[in-house]
Amino acid sequence: MNSVPLLSIMIWLPALGALAVLALPRENVAAQRSVSLGAALLALASAIGVAFLFDPARAGFQLVESIAWVPSWGISYTVSVDGVSLWLVLLTAFLTPVALVASWGTVERQERAFYALVLFLASGLFGVFTAQDMLLFYVSFEFTLIPTALLIGIWGGVERRYAAIKFFAYTFSGSVFLLLGIIGLYLLHGQATGVYTFDIATILASLQLGTLRLDIGTERLIFGLFFIGFAVKAPIWPFHTWMTTAHAEAPSSGVVDIIGLLVKIGAYGLIRYNVQLFPATAAWAAPAIGVLAVIGILYAAWIAYQQTDMKRLLAYASVSHLGLIVLGIFALNAQGIAGAVAHMVNSALTTGALFLVAGMLVARRGSRELKAFGGLWKATPWLGSLTLLLALGSIGLPGLNGFVSEFAVLQGSWRSPGLGWRYALPAVLGVALAAVYLLHMYRTTFMGDTPPELAQAPDVRPRELALLVVLAAPVVVFGLYPNLLFGPMQQSVTQIAQGMLPFLTSR
């Protein structure tokens, strides 16, 4: 037990920052910006502190902080990190200040509320990734919905209300099943062991020791309830339509996409709950879920190629990436899961950066149609080269970050007894399609003839340059030194994979 509750500081700082921002006068935008960015940077500093305190040689939950919340129900405020959540915590901490800076100058009205909502969202995300108590997880999970829906609905595009309601309705419908699954698991655990608790570590231990035995039907039912919640949230094909609408209608600057939609809560939930708690059922369901994942990869990649709207194209790209992540998770071996976690980080970085680029392009041209662009390379060489780097990272060019995680996922799924080459080969095709649609987008915007409206387009401004460089740095670093990415999560992932082993070999 560490003396400074670093995780809690990290979780609550953004929320306190949000309240502080709301207390500032409406006109004083400069102060609102510095307070919100300050809170986000302090949270980032705490997250980095957490990363240093984290011991990569140990599996399981670390830096546990626990306070009873509703003791009579066994609900506690327990937060901790393991190798899987550490990276997602760092990702959130990293993207929050990026999103705040990216919003400067692009939010025309009600800046104060915008900054506050981004900070509230960050707190919710930290809560999701650090919660070790199922009910705390659920509360944080739901809490992220409200700011995201408001961010899309207040500052979004023409169809913003529709998109916000769709986003909320889909995710909320999924998550009520999640709540039911949580209640069910809690009661079954309590009835079997006499210990009523929502603590994941305790329930996991009971399941592994056999003090809690679920019969096969019940286990599949609970697995299914969790799966519906996370599949809709992730989103796995065919539940993805809210996601593309939300991306399309989110503010064109790309701010909400990067912090609200690209941080993969659903996929994280699949690893933490479905795979870790119910290995037998996960192994049973893996082939079917793998099919959904592969369809998602190919279908979304194909639709992305058909898009004429920049943000829609990126939205489908993100759905396609998600398919790959889910495939990696349900490979159910260490490579696959590690690759999936790494890909969550990588695709959030590269796709997020491309969303910001799209926002910058829209700001210069006033349109999101690919046809409206062309030959930007001549006017904006810096923007062009940075975009190329990010696009190549997203495509999976060896030496950049996308490659290492995609490779791990594909290797994992190929070697997985449940999936095998039948799944890996079409996934490879999907990865190839990624090159097609992203290069298509790049070609139509940066190559060819320059339309007269864009001849005088300004190159990257210092703020934009800083944003893109900050996002591009990990793209290169993770590509060249993948062990930085994989090292800290190795023990935790191996432990999850080992829990799977008895159920995979018995097939």
Partner: protein, 492 residues
């Protein structure tokens, strides 16, 4: 000649009731001497009475006693409910202080009637005998008929009062006939004695049939009071017509009182027949959920939408009632707790929502259309935030009070072996989220179409702040409320 013995009366049991009824009677006299222009003073005095009655309950915690020949009971269950009713009454009066003069219907009797209604609710919570329950039901109803028609300049209000009276009288008839059958079957009107008779299994088949028929009639009567399907038809019209604060009181206080009595009746008198009534009530709960929530989906009038939503919530509370009767162990206890927690959460939330509607109402003009909420965020941000918090709580989104209520009743129903109704319950909850969300979208994401509403009176602001903060505090720190309801068992 036999000596007449007056049994000793345990005044502790009747303390709060005496304060409320006594103070209400005194206020009627005081009101005569208060000039028309200062009627508000009577409102403040009524609030003071509610606060005193609530404070008088504090030393009574832990008392478990009966008096008046075991007709009136005080236990932690009824004490908790009494506090809830007093809080609801106080908030209702606070919300009315500004509303009544604005609508031109301010009369001091209004505040007194609210106190009488509160007394009726307390009788329903404390009644241990069918006669007392009937008395409470009628007292509450008659006062509410008057209050519903209080906005007499509006025809809708008068119509609502009339409608409520007709339906209510009808429901009262059911209860009386049911009580007669129960008495015929068991020879007693005391809930506990009926329960004991049933447990001894000495009833003949014929008597048992009478008992069940009587019980069914009583449930129907209370079903009207709590607006559960298929006895809900009156609710939307009455809510729409009634003065808005009274609609709020109807939706929380009167419903909570109906459930308080229903739960005690089913659990104390009829626990032995759980196997029979649980499936019936489960089917009614599902029907209530479906009717309420699907009805709410189609509404454009926010007041009617809240009426349908309040029907829907009766369905969730029924989950708790069903679990409360489950034989043996933890499920029953969790059910009682779930009902109480749900009622606490729902009371604050719904009063807040009605408070926002009150703030939007101009004199003689209804502002209940969905369109009137458009862009409220730009015009009155705090009002929009308060409404949003209430809507999220009604939808059961954490971290609000409504979430814990839903969580509790779902868990209780699952424990009672009724997992299947919780599945239907969550499916309907996800549909319900849609119409609550539509209001939020309307407030935050649409452009304003109306001019800024009137400045909000301070009393109204206090009432709204109390309700909204209550929702949020219960949402973040539910522990005190959960601890409170966990100390409550029926008859303990």
């Amino acid at each position: 000649m036999t000596e007449i013995i007056i049994p000793t009366i345990d005044w502790r049991v009747a303390t709060q009731l005496s304060i409320i009824f006594g103070w209400a009677s005194v206020l009627l006299v005081i009101a005569l001497f208060v000039p028309r222009s200062r009627t508000r003073i009577v409102g403040y005095l009524a609030i003071a009475g509610a606060i005193v009655a609530a404070a008088a309950g504090i030393p009574l915690w832990g008392v478990n006693a009966e008096t008046f020949s075991s007709m009136l009971r005080l236990d932690a269950y009824s004490l908790t409910l009494n506090w809830l009713f007093l809080a609801a009454a106080a908030i209702t009066i606070v919300l009315s202080l500004d509303y009544l003069p604005r609508q031109g219907i301010e009369r001091s009797e209004y505040y007194v009637l609210v106190l009488f209604a509160t007394g009726g609710m307390m009788l329903l919570a404390q009644g241990a005998d069918l006669i007392i329950l009937f008395l409470g039901l009628e007292l509450l109803s008659i006062v509410l008929y008057v209050l519903t028609g209080f906005a007499y300049p509006r025809n809708a209000s008068e119509e609502a009062g009339m409608k409520y009276l007709l339906i209510g009288a009808f429901a009262g008839g059911f209860v009386v006939f049911g009580i007669a059958l129960l008495y015929g079957a068991t020879g007693s009107m005391n809930l506990r004695i009926i329960g004991e008779t049933l447990a001894q299994q000495v009833l003949t088949l014929e008597e048992r049939t009478y008992l069940l028929a009587g019980a069914a009639l009583v449930v129907v009567g209370f079903g009207y009071k709590v607006a559960m399907a298929p006895f809900h038809m009156w609710a939307p019209d009455v809510y729409e017509g009634a003065p808005t604060p009274i609609a709020g009181l109807l939706s929380v206080g009167s419903k909570a009182a109906g459930f308080a009595a229903l739960l005690r009746f089913l659990v104390e008198a009829l626990a032995g027949e759980w196997q029979i009534w649980a499936p019936v009530l489960a089917a009614l709960a599902i029907a209530t959920l479906a009717v309420g929530n699907i009805g709410a989906l189609t509404q454009h009038n926010v007041k009617r939408m809240l009426a349908y939503s309040s029907i829907g919530h009766a369905g969730y509370i029924l989950f708790g009632v069903i679990a409360a009767g489950a034989p043996g162990g933890i499920a029953g206890q969790r059910g009682v707790e779930g009902v109480l927690l749900y009622l606490i959460a729902y009371t604050f939330t719904n009063l807040g929502a009605f408070g926002v509607l009150i703030a939007l109402e101009h004199r003689g003009e209804a502002a209940w259309d969905m369109g009137d909420l458009a862009g409220l965020w730009n015009r009155r941000p705090w009002l929009a935030v308060a409404m949003a918090v209430c809507m999220l709580s009604l939808a059961g989104v954490p971290p609000t009070a409504g979430f814990w209520g839903k969580f509790y009743v779902f868990t209780a129903a699952w424990l009672a072996g009724m997992g299947w109704i919780t599945v239907i319950g969550v499916v309907i909850a996800s549909i319900a989220a849609f119409y609550y969300l539509r209001i939020i979208a309307q407030m935050f994401m649409a452009e304003p179409v109306r001019e800024a509403p009137l400045p909000i009176d301070r009393a109204l602001r206090v009432g709204l702040a109390l309700a909204t903060l209550g929702v949020l505090i219960l949402g973040f720190i539910p522990t005190p409320a959960i601890d409170l309801v966990q100390r409550v068992g029926l008859g303990s």
